[in-house]
Every structure is written in structure tokens, then in C-alpha cells.
Amino acid sequence: MTSLLEVEGLVKHFVAARSVFGRPTAHVKAVDGVSFTVEAGKTLALVGESGCGKSTVSRLVLRLIEPDAGTVRFEGRDLGALNANELRAFRRDAQIIFQDPYASLNPRMTVSQILSEPLALHDLVPAKRRRERVGELLRLVGLEPRFARRYPHEFSGGQRQRIAIARALAVEPKLIICDEPVSALDVSIRSQILNLLRDLQDRLGLAYIFVSHDLAVVKHIADRVAVMNLGGIVETAQADALFAAPRHPYSRALLSAIPVPKPQAKRSRIVLEGEMPSALHPPSGCRFHTRCPYVIARCRTEVPPLLADGTGHATACHRTAELPASESIVPADGDFSPVLEKLVAAFSGGTEGAGRAGVDLSRTRPIDRG
């Protein structure tokens, strides 16, 4: 069985500077040979620091920008070969939610217009039934249908993100790319959106590509994680395996630096020496070698391939086998005391996420996709 999404050797170089005659003189190698797969109904998290290329990958996957090389296959079909009509059809299957719910909703459109537009564009629901469908979508994300007549400015950040999610759900996609969907939200709102995303995944069988720099959130939501550094994937593994024992020196540094809500947490933080190299002039060989504490001569010249072991845990490092054990790298934040556990439980009862917000999901009947 093929995966829902298969990305193979994706490359995107942006022109950073041009000569006076318009010839490119410098390129940013934003994405340089990225491959991964996403299974239906599962969550792949792309993590890495600013500029590592994770957002570019998410846009390439949707063909919002064109790759320089590589293929993206969705349900076995090569997206690069799609014509305009087929591409539009693909847009029904894959949607995106952006980080900033203040910027991603048109302030001049009512919620009803925002949610009706995809329905009209893809001709999914007859005009007469659209209002009803908008109400269903709002209920699906835990908002009241009467909000349909309001404008985005009348909502809080968390509510706006719910509207953005509803808009993505309007076309009944199979894949949603969540590009830092909760980074701009307050913690208590963030937990509501994370719960909602999880409920929707369970109910609707959605696959997510979850782009985030917040590793605790990634641990919570992801099935599989791909760690990116300077345009390439350095490590990919099941989330549990990665957080239990990261292998690549960059993943080790990244995970060791997670701030955890436990004062005096036992931690062995790996501080990266040197400066983050520019994507304009990435280092030769392994792109992490300038900051790697385990660097050897070979790393400077030879690009390490991303090699998987038997369990699907892949690492792009020449020294994977020789590195010290990494079990205690990720800081421990412990669990709650029994008393605190019970107190916290009082906040989880009854009304949470879409399913428990008095929303009957069975009422949102699927559209006949004939």
C-alpha cells in the first residue's frame, strides 16, 4: 500500500542576489534534497530552527511554490505532472493552516463568506445548502453557528484559529499542513486547539504535517518526527523513539535545550558552539559539522546519507554508531504529584475539544464526493 504522501529528493533554491543584468549570483539553498512520507491519518512533525526550510517544505508539498527538483506524490500521483484542473482538485485533498490567525483571515469577509468560498470554488455544496454547511463546520470546530455573520476582528486569537481550521475542513481534505498553528496562542487556548486537532484527526482520519519549533507540543501531537537542519533532514523516527534517545548530534542539542516546566530539572544541555551557518553558504560535507561536538575530518568533505535502521529510525551522520548513548539527553519534567493530578483533572472534565463542546459530530454528514 502506498503512503498518502511521498516526498522524494525535494530541492528548492531561492535566488538571493542578482547581477545588474538580472543573472542570479547567489542562492539560498532552502530545501536541498528532502525525502519523507506521511501515512493517512497520522501526524508527521517537521521540526528545526528558523530558516531550516521546514515552512518551504510545507509550501512545496502543496505546490504553492514549484520545486527545482524532486517529486511529491499524493496517493501515488505525481503533483508535478498535474495540470491546472487536476491541481485544483488536489487542493481539495490538502489544506494548510497558518501560524497567524490575525493575518490569515480576510478582515473584510464575514465568517460565513470565508467558509462558503471554498465550498463555492470547488462546487461542493449547492448554494442553497451552504449556510447550513457553514453552521456545521463552525460546530465541528467548537464555535456556535450564529457566529457566521461576524467578522474576524470580533474574535479572539483562539477563535480565529478555529475559523481557519474550519475553512481548511470545508473541502474535506485528507491532509492538513499545520504551520506553527498554536505558536501565536496563549497556553490555555493552545491546549484547546491541540485537543481539537487531535479530535478531528480521530474523527475524520486526517493526516497532518505539523510544522513547529515547540518540541513539547511536537512530542504531544506527532506520530513521527523529522528533524531538519539547513535544508536537509538529519534524523527521522517515531516520536517516542526520537524523544527517548535522539541520535543525530543536532537532534541531541535541540532536544536537550527544551525548556521544561520543572524547576531544577535534571538536564545535560548541549550548548552548540559557533554560529549558525548561513543558508547562502552552507558548509561543505555535513552541514552541521561547523557546530558539531563530534566532528571528524570526513564530516567536512562527505555528505552523510540519511540511513535507516531496522526500526525506521534514520540518521544522517557518519558517526551514528560511535556516538555515546543519548538516553538522558532529553530533560525530564516528571509527572504531577497525585494531588496535582487530581486538581488538573478537574479542568479536563466535560467540555473539551470539539467532541465534548456539545458538538454532535455525527451531524456533520460527509458530502457525496461523486
Binding site: E49, V260, F347
Partner: protein, 329 residues
């Protein structure tokens, strides 16, 4: 070095008068103190008044629209009662602030070097050349690559994270006694965040400066703070040493916050959520401001405003149901 706190805030109250005649009680009788070399975390969500508190300390609230009362004693001054000239000498010098939005807090029409050098020249004097060297050194300290080149760039050429580092460099320019950092690492990546937090600790250790760290990130609080004050709807609802707050929170709001963040060692399919909305601060409810969202609410909660009462030495909670452990045993 003087004994006692470096900064002591008493009964701080900020009321905004809108043009439409409405008043908003953004901050209500806030008492805080920070000792030399200590770090106080001010935690809360959007609109809880934590940023307004910091703006009041810096004297940055417009006198026309904001009515500030109470007292803020810093280094022998009452900041609410000093001439503007004195305040200008203190700001950027002994009293520095890092803002939340690196995008809007740098002037787009000057190079970052110009902006850092301006601060140094204003408070320290000396030659422009020396100031430039110090600016380059500061940029290096906040891990800006090629600082000698970057110093001549304009803010739009830098990434968001980079701009925040420039802001931090600027705040550190005159070795402040008190650094107010309003969400300083929110825009930064984890490894960089760790570096910046280390940097703030370094600064604190080297200079004995105090830090007020305003954040919504409890992980960051646990990392760097000595004491924590949790704010909700303009009030401090809980104040405790950092270990105590995380192990034994005594206000339901703090409990809700702790439960709503994903933890690495915890396998929960769903996170805790705090349902409902923050009360409208134009017309705050008569009793406890958290009552409408609190799972432990009882009738007396809504009758009268609860006081910030001591639960155990050094630990205060604005909840009449504290200690909370008796509610679940």
C-alpha cells in the same frame, strides 16, 4: 549595594480611560518586589495586565489615557513621581526593557548599529568609535553571526529572531540594574532560547542585576526564575518561590495553566483546558475574577473579592478555597 529590594511596587493600579468614556481596570492593586540579582517571573495570558505592569514601571503609559496610582520605588526614586528628565536618564540605562515584538520595536530607517550606538552615546558618552566597538561586542554576545558586518544592516534585512537579539543587545548596552524582559524568547528557536536564557543568567551573575521576566511560557519560568507571580485579569492571583509554584500550586488558575501545557514525560491524549473567557475588565465581576471558569467554585467565591492570602511562608494565593489539596482528598 543596599539591602532590601531593588524595586518595590505597592498598590499599583492602572485604569485606562477610553475616548468613549469607558474605563478599563487593566491592573489592580499589584504588589511586587524584586531583590538585587533575583529574577521574578510574571506569568499570565494575553490581557492579564502583565505587560501594562511593565509599561507602568518604565513610565511608558500615556498620561492622557492611563491613570496610574500606587508607588514604584526603584533605587531611591518613586518612578511614578519623578520628573520626565530623570526617567529618561534611568530608561535604557539602569532600567532597560526588551519588548515582545521585535518587528515593531526597531526603527526601520536606521541601521541596527545606529540604534545601539545611540543608546550608548546617550548614557555613557565617549567616542562614536568606542560605542561602535561596544555595539559589535554586544551583537556578538547575543550570537549574531558576523556582527561587524551586520551592524550596518537595516532591521528589515534581519529575521525575526535576529531582530530580537538586536533588541536584547540594545537593552544590555548600559549594563542595567533592572531588566524587564517582556516575552524575550517567544520568537526564538529552542537552542537560541537556551542561549538567551543563559545570557540573561550570565548578566545577572556578572552584574547583580535583577530581572522581571514577563512570559506565558512556564518552561522558561522554571528555567530562570527564583520567584513567580501569576496574574489573571489585572490581579496577582498567586505568588510563590518557583519550586513551590510548580510542585504545589494553590490557585485554580495556576493549576489549569500547568495542566494545559504538554509535558515530555506525560502521556495524555488530551490537555487540560480552561473553558470560558476572561471577564470584561471594563466591568469586572464583584467576587473572584476567575470564578466563572473555575471548577472549584462555591457560592462565597462570587460574593466578595478574595484577598491575596498567605498559604504557607512565602506562598500567597487569591483563592478562598486554598489550600487546594483538601478539595481532592
Amino acid at each position: 549595594m543596599t539591602a532590601g529590594p531593588l524595586i518595590e511596587i505597592e498598590k499599583l493600579r492602572v485604569v485606562f480611560h477610553g475616548d468613549d468614556g469607558r474605563t478599563t481596570h487593566a491592573v489592580d492593586s499589584v504588589d511586587l518586589s524584586v531583590a538585587n540579582g533575583a529574577t521574578l517571573g510574571l506569568v499570565g495570558e494575553s490581557g492579564c495586565g502583565k505587560s501594562v505592569t511593565s509599561l507602568a514601571i518604565m513610565g511608558l503609559l500615556s498620561k492622557r489615557s492611563a491613570e496610574v496610582s500606587g508607588s514604584i520605588r526603584f533605587d531611591g526614586f518613586d518612578l511614578l513621581d519623578v520628573p520626565d528628565d530623570t526617567l529618561r536618564d534611568l530608561r535604557g540605562n539602569r532600567l532597560a526593557m526588551i519588548f515582545q515584538e521585535p518587528m515593531t520595536s526597531l526603527n526601520p530607517s536606521f541601521t541596527i548599529g545606529d540604534q545601539i550606538i545611540e543608546t550608548i552615546l546617550r548614557h555613557r558618552g565617549g567616542s562614536r568609535r568606542q560605542a561602535r566597538e561596544r555595539a559589535i561586542e554586544l551583537l556578538r554576545r547575543v550570537h549574531i553571526p558576523s556582527p561587524d558586518k551586520r551592524i550596518d544592516e537595516y532591521p528589515h534585512k534581519l529575521s525575526g529572531g535576529m531582530r530580537q537579539r538586536v533588541m536584547i543587545a540594545m537593552a544590555l548596552a548600559c549594563d542595567p540594574r533592572l531588566l524587564i524582559a517582556d516575552e524575550p524568547t517567544t520568537a526564538l528557536d529552542v537552542t537560541l532560547q537556551a542561549q538567551i536564557l543563559d545570557l540573561m543568567r550570565e548578566l545577572k551573575a556578572a552584574s547583580g542585576a535583577a530581572i522581571i521576566l514577563i512570559t506565558h511560557d512556564l518552561g522558561v519560568v522554571a528555567e530562570v526564575c527564583d520567584e513567580v507571580a501569576v496574574m489573571y485579569a489585572g490581579e496577582i492571583v498567586e505568588r510563590a518561590p518557583v519550586d513551590e509554584l510548580f510542585a504545589n500550586p494553590q490557585h485554580p488558575y495556576t493549576v489549569g495553566l500547568l495542566g494545559s501545557i504538554p509535558r515530555l514525560d506525560r502521556r495524555a491524549s488530551h490537555l487540560a483546558t480552561i473553558e470560558g473567557m476572561v471577564p470584561n475588565m471594563a466591568n469586572p465581576p464583584p467576587g473572584c475574577r476567575f470564578a466563572a471558569r473555575c471548577p472549584f467554585v462555591v457560592d462565597p467565591c462570587t460574593a466578595a473579592p478574595p484577598p491575596l492570602a498567605i498559604v504557607s511562608p512565602g506562598h500567597a494565593s487569591r483563592c478562598i478555597r486554598a489550600p487546594l489539596e483538601r478539595l481532592v482528598s
